[in-house]
């Protein structure tokens, strides 16, 4: 770690009705990776937006390279060498890699854009990063991981001195994360200051040097990563101790009936000959690396994607599921990994979302019974402890965890007995995560059967009664929780790869 390159001191920012940042401090040194952590809504993004000129601060000072600065827009920040690598926003799918990297500052020959030079310069950047991407490839043809590399290349091309990574690993595979870390270490060695925003505790331990924790818009503290434990950090984030203890014993009542049986299911390349059983009151974890075919299996089972062959039995009865409508009819509910795209309608209210899967129940002929709708929605808001000012609140205004609860309410309204949770806590902060876990356990105890697809090992070990492991579209193992360890799950999850 070198000298201080950037200091934010006493940063204050209010929006109408919200004190988003309350005198927050942050200090970044050259050659360090500095984690910025906090629950959703803690103010991490707001702080970074103030830094890069997207928001104007109310008070406080930013000192960069020894001088007090105030950037008025991202362009000014970029030019000074402070760059954000956004999660996904910054991609122009229809343009080429080089065009993306140099957007806004194209090389020109007269009025003509010099694409040849841009391609050459992009190539040089990639060579410097030791990665192989064709600058003339159309951006949307790249994998998410490669796109992220392009974003980083873009940041470096700005002669960046401070790079902010905003949840860079959210959509990456393990291998891609490894590559990302290699690049970040490279950048650190070149004396850049790096801000790393992430929810993933494991990554924080691996890649960062220091951690600054924020809570409810305030600065809580800064720790040296290697001298602190996971629990230290989590404590600072939530202000309470959270036990991430794994489950040790299968909690399913003995002799619980099989409610769902999947027999030799095939659907495309990603689902090959998958068989498993799900019992009443059980949480069945689906583990595996990204791209193992878990989500695809669930989508096929739910009728969202076509099935090539195989049988599905619900409560012992063979069923044909050709569409999500069929699946819902047999009491299967699916909570998508991508809530915003598939799970909820953000511009509708809590009540409207709650009844969406079962609107017939709430309709008198063509008219919707608003009163009944609100009553039922209210009931679930209470029983799931959804934090919302009211059932008429637009879902877009809720936090991730509470949005997830609305989706759960939607399927409970429909009386689904089989619930498929696909990455139930993705993008949800630690406190809300625990509530979702509690809720899932409670549902299982009430006799619902739950399938949980998760990429987080701690989540799998904490929640599952049994674990199915997939790799490359095939089921590679099945474990009772009592015999499951990180090591043997990882073993199965990589079985097909070598």
């Amino acid at each position: 770690m070198g000298e201080v390159i950037l200091t934010m001191k006493g940063i204050d920012k209010s929006f109408p009705g919200v004190h988003a940042l309350d005198h927050v401090d942050l200090e970044i040194r050259k050659g360090e990776v500095h984690a910025l952590m906090g629950e959703n809504g803690a103010g991490k993004s707001t702080l970074m937006k103030v830094l890069t000129g997207i928001y104007k601060k109310d008070s406080g000072t930013i000192t960069y390279e020894g001088k007090e600065v105030e950037f008025h827009n991202t362009r000014e920040a970029q030019d000074a060498g402070v760059v954000i690598v956004h999660q996904e926003l910054n991609m122009l799918g229809h343009l080429t890699v080089a065009q993306n990297i140099f957007i806004g500052r194209e090389f020109k020959k007269g009025i003509r854009i010099d694409d040849k030079k841009m391609n050459e310069e992009a190539k040089k950047l990639f060579d410097r990063m030791h990665i192989d991407i064709d600058p003339t490839e159309t951006m949307s043809n790249l994998t998410v991981g490669k796109q992220q590399m392009c974003e980083i290349a873009k940041a470096i091309s700005h002669k960046a001195k401070v790079i902010i990574f905003d949840e860079p690993s959210a959509a990456l595979t393990e291998a891609e994360i490894e590559e990302l870390f290699k690049i970040i270490r490279d950048l650190r060695a070149q004396d850049l200051g790096i801000v790393y925003i992430s929810h993933r505790m494991d990554e924080i331990k691996v890649i960062t040097d220091r951690v600054t924790v924020m809570r409810d818009g305030t600065y809580v503290g800064t720790l040296i990563t290697k001298d602190s434990t996971k629990d230290d950090i989590i404590n600072m984030m939530v202000g309470r101790v959270i036990y991430e203890d794994p489950k040790t014993k299968n909690m399913t009542p003995p002799g619980a009936p099989v409610v769902l049986k999947v027999d030799h299911l095939n659907a495309g390349k990603m689902v090959q000959d998958v068989s498993f059983e799900l019992h009443k009151g059980e949480v069945l974890g689906f583990s595996g690396l990204m791209g193992a075919g878990r989500t695809e299996t669930m989508r096929a089972l739910f009728g969202a994607d076509p099935i090539d062959s195989g049988d599905i039995y619900v409560n012992g009865q063979k069923v044909t599921i050709k569409s999500p409508q069929d699946a819902v009819k047999y009491g299967i509910g699916y909570l998508s990994e991508d809530r915003k795209r598939f799970g909820i309608v953000v511009q509708k209210t809590v009540a409207e979302n709650t009844t969406m899967a079962d609107l017939d129940e709430f309709a008198n002929g063509p008219f919707i019974n608003k009163k009944k709708e609100n009553e039922v929605a209210q009931k679930f808001v209470e029983s799931l402890a959804t934090k919302t000012p009211g059932v008429d609140q637009l879902v877009v205004n809720l936090s991730g965890g509470n949005q997830q609860k609305v989706v759960i309410a939607k399927w409970l309204t429909r009386n689904c007995d089989i619930l498929i949770f696909d990455e139930p806590t993705r993008g949800i902060d630690v406190g809300a995560k625990n509530e979702i876990y509690k809720l899932m356990n409670q549902l299982a105890a009430e006799g619902k059967a739950i399938i949980m697809v998760s990429s987080e090992m701690t989540e799998i070990l904490r929640m599952s009664d049994r674990i199915v492991v997939m790799c490359e579209g095939k089921k590679t193992g099945e474990l009772d929780i009592s015999e499951a360890t990180q090591e043997n799950i990882m073993n199965m999850a990589t079985r097909e790869i070598e």
Partner: protein, 335 residues
Amino acid sequence: MANKVSKTAGTNKSFIDRMGGQQFIVLILVIVMFIFFSAMSPGFRKYTTVVSILDYSYYIALMAIGVTFPLLTAGVDLSIGTGLVCYSLIGGLLVRQYGMPVAVGMLVTVLIGLIFGIINGCLVALMDLPPFLATLCTCMITRGFGAMVVGGYGIPWPAAAQEGGWFRSIFKINVGGQNIPIGFIWIILLVIVMSFVLNHTKMGRYTRAIGSNKEATRLSGVNVKFYHIMAYVICGLFAGLAAIAYSAIFATVQPGSGAGFELDAIGGAIVGGVSMSGAVGSIWGTLIGVFVICLLKTGLPFIGLTANWQQIITGLVLIAAVLFDILKRKKEAGK
């Protein structure tokens, strides 16, 4: 290394894709249609028919080149049809009523087009009105405004033999009793220029970028508002040019007309491979697409199909074009 990669990417593409994808298919379609109509009707395979198809194509092509820009930003401009008539009426009125030189009338025509382009651009880019709505409103406004200014009477721009009629020879000259459709040369030139603008200038690059991901473009430090407005300004400018072409080809311009012209232009662009969801498309594609529309309009009557059939078939062709686009994107998403 880069060359090697792109080469392998090239070989993965189908023959059609390497030839330019949808544009190639549409070009074949134009040729097939031309042969078909020629074979079916002796009246069609005449030089005069070719001239009249071209006559018909100028104003649609000009509108279509212009509207390609808003389309590429994932917007649309519905005001170009009624706008065209409005600009032409005002320009023509200056010439007819106030005795101004034709050149001045033309200049004013184009200028008003430009001004409405700026208005559309500001409504969409500055005030965040949905493009469909904003330009639907200016469509109505231009329609009413044009009719109001001329007081409800049609305006005949000077005929070829009259004083000031020289402007008609911009598009068609008469050599030894034969009409030579030189307007086509101007269209080709403009297509070349606008292709350059679209593919090799910031203006074009950012037009596509806005259509691909406006927020990302903004965060890259691009003056998104300016370039977003400019897309509509270009569109308005070309609507103005289309107004001149229209005035030069047709004897009289009728107030209240023009509604539906924009659909021919937008339809042409879409048949030619411009995606309504933005970013995808080319000026050459648009031009070829316009000829599909024009051939349908002029060709179908020759084989005895009425204007109603023409509408139905044009609609079906549009569905086919859009389906093609959707299927292609699904295929790409699936790989």
